[in-house]
Symmetry: D3
Subunit: 338 residues, 6 copies
């Protein structure tokens, strides 16, 4: 038997042997601080609150007095952007989620103090009704049915109040029809249309009871009181529906598209970038993903650092410029160490 | 303020309201038995062996007498394809992995009895040197260096012996240069070129010490004695290198391309399918992925069934026609129950 | 001279040798009952009418009493969807096609009895003015000119009346500007926007006198009294115009895009699917195509079954999920026989 | 109800209103003489033969004395290219098709006299064994089995003899593995590699008993004596296999790719052009397609001119630069008349 | 050492050896008169004006009496389209650019006499405020700020007046938000929506002080009095922004997309064509490009004819169907000479 | 008249308002030192030579003693890679270009001293016969004809001698058939296959007398003595041929693809990157481009810095990771200044 000699064209190492070639080849998967967005839970339980979240070991809710000290460490390590989740435990939840944009509520207060101290930091605010409504749903209900028009009017109102408070970006996490257009219209009316970006949770999969979102509820206190959110979130296999949601939101003016969760939807991140190459894409590594990696490492199944970096590298490789991850402080530290 | 009315073109539910429309829209993500490939560990420790694998709770190594009873349950539930990993604990490991294709070794023995009983079952055999060599590496070493030519000659020999024993497919899991061409040449020489398919582990990421592959070693008994396999597996961010490996293997005659691991590389599965639409793509959900889901469910973080099905749906949605998963028996049961 | 040995990479049969591989490779061209949509001509000439159509040998117009008996045979063989063409021979044709949506007219009557008996059947209704107008054109004329706005208002009215009668889908076959948006707006106004799908004849080629559409006129009784329809149908070479029509209709809310005719426009079907991967695509095998295959087979030039199946396989392969074909009953029978 | 006003962006006529815009938009579907390739049957039954082919009404086989008079009319109307099919009725058919490249056989004789008279005409010759072998198959059989290596060696010999006689292009119509490479190797050996093009019947669908190829057999006298050609022609749904054939032939040096038949494979023409944009694509409108259009027109179902031009426009629109059609003389006349 | 023999598949010359093959291969880069659009400066300084433009050696501004004599030479050589730039030196410039569409102003006068003499010529008119406003900016300023709404209303007014005067196409060269939609709405209101095309300067790079646009100012007399135009023109690296401008303008009804300048943005021309294959693309070879080629040739660095033809061939190859070039008269002459 | 209000989705500034968004959007067009490759002319006229090149004002040929001092300045400013052009004025030119790889010739000497001093610098060497042959052609001539096989054998020899001297990359600038494969084979034979990269001048347009290449000849002293190079360089319109050259060279093992010249071929750079996304692409801004920009700036037509940076930004935007430019020292300075 004569040996098979691979064709010369099949030598691959020559393309990656020298440092210059490797540097020219792998830009797109590199993680830099600018790619990391910190989810920040701000509570009004007490100004000095510092409440560990059981379901997200290592992550806390911050009272207003603790926000800046925590952020200052991150900014020093290169943090460029955050997204605020306000947790209101003082005001009564009602039908329309009135406390969402209470002038003295945690979200608006946090936006103001953060932008005052760090005007260059890019500050986004999550926009939804569910953490503040008595139903725990992302919509306003009338007679037992979601009222889409009222819901998007209200979402536009909340978003514009965050924008008026100084947010650079508003990020509607509900899935109501037309909420991007409603928010953009309202922003334009207020002459904020050109300054404030809208990051749409445009491809948001799965319902509240799905594997991934459980722990978030404890963090943000937003479990629905009845039914679940399957009606307005996407089933895991529905790639064509997700793509149509992306297109719809682009058509209504979204500036950034988000895929959530990240890990089990890397192909959707890639397709989103393919279909919308001229838009930044964000990936949200949700609380369930955090939990799996954390517990897996604890059980010795994986090495935490390698596992986390691999998961974030995957998001970058798939095309996400922005990654929302609870591991952000840890990763900034690792990048700083290198 | 006047309300924003979403454009009529942004109504999405009408496209998915009726069952016929949903059926026409979501073919590509559905999991059928034909999409599931069972990894089967066959040991020669004893003909009656039934050895649970600690790192893969619920998965066992089978002695030759237990193979058919186990398979018969799966075939009844619709199993169409398997991949055999031989575990030789009797013969001495040597430089070239002689026991890999020992005529009476576990792999060849298993192929023969399985094809005799289930001629329609599509039987693949994993082809590598590492489980049978004294170095634990996927290559033959001479003077401390991998000898690529000797390695691929040997791999071709192993593969062709599996093919002669009746395997429908041989699946080289090493990453040596030119092994696909060497195997195809040898198969052609033996007039098996048109009957036996080659499934290439073409985009195989990460080294043996990475988060994902740990538990597999216990199962197949193949940890390297020195160094690790990073030299011949791909770093997580190297999408361009992975794509070039796919193209190279297609150029040498691969019939099926495999991405491994699956979960953190869904975007790579998608790109593989995009660049090679005329080839079936396989995804290997590795032991580490199994472990994360298993332990996560045990810790109550996720619901096992929903989590597993979501992970496999993701592989299908990304473009994999074949999924190698240790959950296969469980999923066949779930599909059977529905 | 030394022989040329083809590269090992050029062996193709190994990729298609085993049944599992063939099954994984050819999903997309398979014809299942869910892919076949039956065009159904319903006449009010008499409740018991059963009128053979000369130009479509083997196809008939059905009076209301004969609809369900005929359908029941098809549903038994797996029929999942139909499209109704009402033929009104009793009411006077007028400028606006008033009889199109006459409450007791054949279309609305058929929708009601069919949905009552087969609630799971997906029932579409062709929407146009031409079979019911005194001009035989697809538009309303004022002062000798087509009035686009009046035409689309009227089309929206007809469509919504079909929807109110129970149709799951309305399918405007005219080519007026803005008729998709007009219909969707009207449906939304009536709270039917999310339940009723709109299938747009978006890429409809050629005029009434072209080779393909002749026989249909006898079937539906809709030849124009003056001029022809070239002004609002596409010339055969105009692929860019067809693609812009598709995009326009998607922008106005079409749920399904149709290419008509099918056979000479397979490349357009393919391009439509490529540009709109997240939408189902329908292909209409028109009466002229039916006639060519029928007469060709009769003359012994081709084998009818092979010719018909090849033509439908081609539509599926090109990307159509839905095929409107007069051969539907015959094909359901063939599929049943296999 | 307020009327729906279509968005201004949905006005399409402005893009096609002026002649300059129409001219800039529709280049790609236009039929020019350079796009038409004439299939020419040359017989050695008698030098003065002029034998009408029943199955192709209006098409004849030409004896050597009648070739130039017939061609001269076509060249005057702009004909730029032909493809010769030699029909040998004098020499005994044998195992290897010896008469195919008989020095005085019809093919070689025709090439010589045509190139002598029309040096600028692009002259291709069909290359196969089937019209000259005693089996009627496209391959050489040994012991009842096709011998692929002998077949491609013989095909290379035939092709190179045609090239030596002056053919500008050789067009292997068999589907043997490696015949393109074998022909190119032989041509290179003879220093003809850079002058003579190879047009591969690379995506040739269906077997001899399929609807489309029947009439050709009468024309070229090449029905198989046993079995049929399904083993080496593609089933109608096998788009992925067709695409792999195209790629394989490009890899072996094909200069032009052909899709055959044309009409039911317009999507394959389009995909071939998409995957191989840098290669000319030919479409063969086969004898069955000719027959359907001819008989359909005769039966009054279609208008011949409109039907034929629509079918050829479709080939151009799908991406074919070259169309092999029996209607070529008729179309040249029509183009000349316009 | 044994020589390496290139694979037979790597012979390229056979694909381009014969004239027919070359003709079938290179359609897309050929320059025909229909691809050339003449920029025409018309001045009202005097009816008999013929003013050489220093910065564009060889190009002049024409008084109304000299327009037709100059054009008649070009039309004879095949010119099919022009774009008019009116230069008003008589009327006072004001805030809103009133003289742009003065009924007796140079633009409208030129449109009328040209369309009267050459009804088949496709006549476009550049639409902007800057040559006629006292600020020299493309927008109307209120209180020192651009007023976008007033600007687009005014642009729509100018455009519609040009259209009413007979222009076949209006070409807004500003970059205000929404000007395409405003113009299309106004045209539709005037029943000109289907007759008059809008060519959008959709991807217009760089500001007035950038290398390329300098000389144009002398020609059209339109330097800004304060600030520059960087706010509303695109920075050279902003491909994603350019692509979003193209999409936006298509969404508002643009019939033709323009990339400006041409030479340093060939990749943008290509991408524009890729993303909008169903729209004609225009490339504007600006005055600075003209100057570089002219002076380079004068200095002996290049051959003018080869350099100019290469630059225009590049535009065609990249996908532009229309090229606006000051070399048009010269190129028509060269084409005529060949 | 009511004003047209642009859709909210058409606000673009919100996507680019904040620095973080701009940074995430424009990575791909940024110029970093790693993207710049310095062409370095090394002469053996005298060890202390420092010869200004008239045709490239500001660029010089360096004697061996002046190489390191010049380079040290560039490396300090961040230079990462160079390409060496040896200019031999001492040895007699002969048929095979013997002096190209003379052990003591300027190229090999330069490689050695540079790699000794700067082991991290990525050092490429241009490989051709023309500067060293008595014909001035890129090939070896036998009996008045190019001998392709001898030429590629010789090119492989030269390349491997440069590689043995320490070059990290060899860059064949001829266009002979098979030279990439020949070089790779030779390198593999010498066990250099995995260490040394091959950068192919794969899409090299135009002949020596074309506008762009003139000045280079003075620099490298390589004008052909008879004929020109049009036979083996590509005509400007031949995009399909260029793409086939790229594919061929990838098939033979090229590690990097080069497009030359850069400026008039930006669309080709883009297409090269599109078709070969997994390979680095280099763009060569040739001497003629340098001259046009230099003289244009001198004549006041453009601003040099803006013009040069725009031209290089264009290369990056089009997809080139590497730019070979004579402006490299100047640009490193500008980057350093910022
Ligand atoms: Zn919510
Ligand atoms: Zn191994
Ligand atoms: Zn109609
Ligand atoms: Zn044959
Ligand atoms: Zn302006
Ligand atoms: Zn050279």
């Amino acid at each position: 038997m004569s040996s098979y000699e691979p064709p010369v064209g099949h030598i691959l190492q020559s393309s990656f042997g020298h440092g210059v070639l490797r540097e020219l080849s792998a830009f797109e998967s590199k993680i830099s601080p600018v790619n990391l967005m910190l989810p920040l839970f701000v509570t009004n339980s007490s100004p000095d609150a510092l409440e560990p979240i059981n379901a997200l070991p290592g992550v806390s809710r911050y009272g207003v007095n603790n926000v800046l000290p925590f952020l200052s460490q991150q900014v020093e390590k290169g943090l460029r952007s955050i997204i605020i989740f306000g947790v209101d435990v003082k005001n009564t939840k009602d039908k329309v989620g009135s406390s969402a944009d209470n002038d003295m509520g945690p979200t608006i207060e946090a936006i103001k103090i953060i932008k005052a101290k760090y005007p260059q930091l890019w500050v986004a605010a999550d926009v939804c009704i569910c953490p503040f409504s008595d139903t725990g749903h992302c919509a306003i209900f009338e007679d037992g049915h979601m009222d889409n028009q009222k819901s998007i009017d209200r979402l536009a109102e909340i978003a514009s109040n965050y924008a008026l408070a100084g947010a650079d970006c508003v990020a509607p996490s509900d899935m109501m029809d037309g909420r991007i257009g409603a928010i953009k219209s309202k922003l334009r009316e207020l002459k904020l249309g050109s300054r404030v970006a809208v990051m749409s949770y445009s491809a948001k999969f799965c319902s509240g009871s799905c594997p991934y979102y459980g722990p978030f509820r404890e963090a943000a206190g937003s479990a629905p009181k009845f039914g679940d959110r399957r009606n307005y979130q996407l089933p895991p296999g529905a790639s064509n529906l997700a793509m149509r949601c992306n297109s719809r939101d682009v058509g209504e003016g979204a500036d950034i598209l988000m895929v959530k969760p990240a890990g089990a939807y890397l192909d959707i991140i890639y397709r989103t970038k393919q279909e919308h190459p001229n838009f930044p894409v964000a990936a949200y590594q949700v609380s369930g993903e955090y939990a799996l990696l954390f517990h897996g490492a604890k059980a010795g199944a994986i090495d935490l650092k390698r596992g986390v970096l691999e998961s974030l590298t995957a998001c970058r490789r798939a095309g996400a410029e922005l990654i929302l991850s609870y591991f952000t402080p840890q990763v900034l530290q690792w990048l700083d160490d290198d």
